[in-house]
């Protein structure tokens, strides 16, 4: 509880500091919006060309897309410092987290909040909303399903966060991690915007094990849409999130001990 209160206090200080650079904030908000539109236009173009992918209709894929975007954007909003973690290693600023009487991860996360990334969550939600409304009207899903899906997207945030945390931890040894994030975090998240069944077997295996983005949306949604799986597919998401968080955080604690710092 005390940790949460302190986190809130530190985060609001970080936001106050950010607001010193309002123009910077607005410009990056603008560019983020453009990037997101391009991304969405790409998906729309694919979907208009092929109304169905691997037996999934445009609205069904819209759900995957929406959940994936919500999960990733919430993670990006809450943990920008993980995404850019290697700077802490290269510049040795991780020192200043270790001298505080709190868990380093908490102090790290409290240093920044990237509110402009919420735009992505909003876009994801809009696509999700349109898609679910269509399926609701068709009687394919009920309101409970919609609420469960939103809950799953929130759980997905934890999965994305865990993958990113584990990736950032590598920086303790190799001094770099930002490039790795592209490989372990962004590529899999982008893949999760499509039904897992379109990918070759090895990639399916990878995306549902070491880089378990399939649990953010595909595995439970497949069950909710009556496309296979069992109730366990639904339960697997929170279970996967718990395992991911535990493993990633233990790995982080282990990595912390191998921090090298920099000369003076």
């Amino acid at each position: 509880m005390a940790a949460i209160r302190l986190y809130v206090q530190l985060v609001s200080a970080s936001l106050r500091a950010q607001m010193q650079y309002k123009v910077d904030f607005l410009v990056s908000l603008f560019f983020d919006a453009i990037l997101q539109s391009v991304d969405f236009a790409l998906l729309a173009a694919i979907m208009l060309r092929f109304p169905e992918i691997a037996g999934w209709t445009i609205y069904e894929i819209g759900i995957l897309y929406g959940m994936s975007w919500i999960a990733m954007s919430l993670y990006r909003t809450l943990a920008p410092e993980l995404h850019d973690f290697e700077a802490y290693i290269i510049q040795g600023t991780f020192d200043s987290l270790l001298i505080r009487p709190w868990p380093t991860l908490m102090v790290l996360l409290s240093r920044n909040l990237e509110l402009r990334k919420l735009g992505g969550a909003l876009q994801g939600f809009v696509v999700f909303w349109i898609s679910t409304n269509h399926l609701l009207a068709a009687g394919r899903i009920g309101w409970t399903d919609v609420l469960i899906m939103l809950g799953l997207a929130a759980i997905g945030t934890l999965i994305a966060f865990s993958i990113s945390l584990a990736t950032a931890t590598f920086a303790f040894w190799i001094g770099r991690s930002d490039d790795l994030q592209t490989f372990t975090m962004f590529a899999p998240i982008t893949a999760s915007q499509y039904p897992l069944t379109v990918f070759p077997g090895w990639l399916k295996g990878l995306l549902s094990s070491i880089l378990p983005v399939a649990f953010i949306n595909f595995v439970p949604v497949q069950y909710l849409l009556g496309k296979g799986g069992s109730v366990w597919s639904l339960a697997s998401s929170p279970i996967a999130a718990c395992i991911c968080l535990t493993v990633a955080y233990s790995f982080w604690r282990y990595g912390e001990r191998h921090y090298h710092s920099t000369g003076s």
Binding site: L6, L10, A13, S96, I99, I174, T182, H258, H260, S264
Partner: protein, 325 residues
């Protein structure tokens, strides 16, 4: 007196890996063992009692910062044991962090874009300092460090001297019993330096705060430290008080004498003639080998002495000798 800081056979070896650019090189870096080993700190042991003011010296790259980083829980020693306030900074990092204060002169611990006051308030929350205690501390720091005038100025707009004072206040806000100061006077002017020294002396004497200080400024050492620990190439080369440091090294004491008339030849004795300009002769001698009295007596055999002036070896020369020796 309780030992506040204890290091026992502490060694730190680094494996220096190559940092890489680009995606594939990063991936390759994961699997490569390329790199070299360096021993930054080599089997160092010392004990520092409560209330001491210790100078920790050594040339650049000697392992000073590495030792401080191990004592503050930032780095883990490869072997050996460290205790700060009775606990291991590695295994009880958070408990030790609560009891210590740290100032890295080269890097501020304050929130760069926020006013000093905000930083102090955030740190108070972080260290569970109560509201009234915070107010009291701020008043005290205003008297001792004169931080009042810039409490509402963002840290990035402070001068270096102001920033250092604010950093000291920030490090001491939670009343730590041990304080690590890594080059706290670096880059400051004479006035700012003496202000900071006065403050450090006061918290050490009045509040019994144990202070470990690294510096390249020999005046810091001479004016503040009752004890000096010197390391070079990662090894402990000296541990004792300043006078002892001077004498143990046999660093030369300089004696300048003025004769009534210039001596006919260069005076010969247990000394080296450093300079001879007419009637004024400067000799360097080793105080562990003979006393100043003897030297004066012997010098007076070469002519009538009009004036005598003696100067102790400057710590800087002493340390220099030690580093190069």
């Amino acid at each position: 007196m309780q030992p506040t800081i204890e290091t026992k056979n502490v060694t730190k070896r680094f494996r220096v890996a190559k940092a890489r650019q680009g995606f594939w090189n990063t991936v390759r870096g994961l699997f490569s063992n390329e790199g070299r080993d360096i021993v930054a700190v080599d089997d160092i042991s010392f004990t520092i009692e409560e209330g001491s003011f210790v100078g920790y010296l050594g040339p650049n790259g000697a392992g000073k910062s590495t030792t401080i980083k191990m004592m503050t829980g930032i780095l883990h020693p490869t072997s050996g044991e460290i205790r700060v306030a009775g606990m291991s900074p590695q295994h009880n990092r958070k408990e030790v962090a609560r009891r210590m204060g740290v100032v890295f002169g080269q890097r501020t611990q304050l929130w760069w874009d926020l006013p000093v006051r905000d930083s102090l308030e955030l740190l108070a929350a972080m260290y569970r300092v109560s509201g009234p205690d915070l107010q009291r501390s701020m008043r005290t720091f205003d008297e001792t460090l004169e931080i009042g005038p810039f409490l509402d100025v963002p840290v990035r707009k402070l001068s270096l001297g102001q920033r250092m004072r604010a950093d000291l206040a920030a490090a001491l806000l939670h009343r730590p019993s041990v304080v690590f100061l890594d080059e706290p006077t670096i880059g400051l002017d004479v006035v700012a330096k003496s202000g900071i020294r006065r403050f450090l002396r006061e918290i050490n004497r009045k509040e019994g705060v144990t202070i470990l200080l690294t510096t390249h400024d020999m005046d810091d050492i001479e004016q503040l430290c009752s004890r000096v620990i010197v390391i070079n190439h990662g090894r402990l080369v000296f541990d004792g008080d300043i006078d002892h440091l001077r004498t143990s090294l046999g660093a030369p004491t300089l004696l300048t004498v003025e004769y009534a008339t210039a001596p006919a030849s260069s005076p010969i004795g247990p000394w080296n003639v450093v300079e001879q300009a007419g009637a004024v002769v400067t000799v360097a001698f080793d105080r562990t080998a003979c006393t100043a009295g003897e030297v004066i007596a012997r010098l007076s055999q070469f002519g009538e002495l009009r004036d005598v002036h003696m100067s102790e070896p400057n710590i800087e020369t002493v340390i220099e000798r030690m580093y190069t020796g």
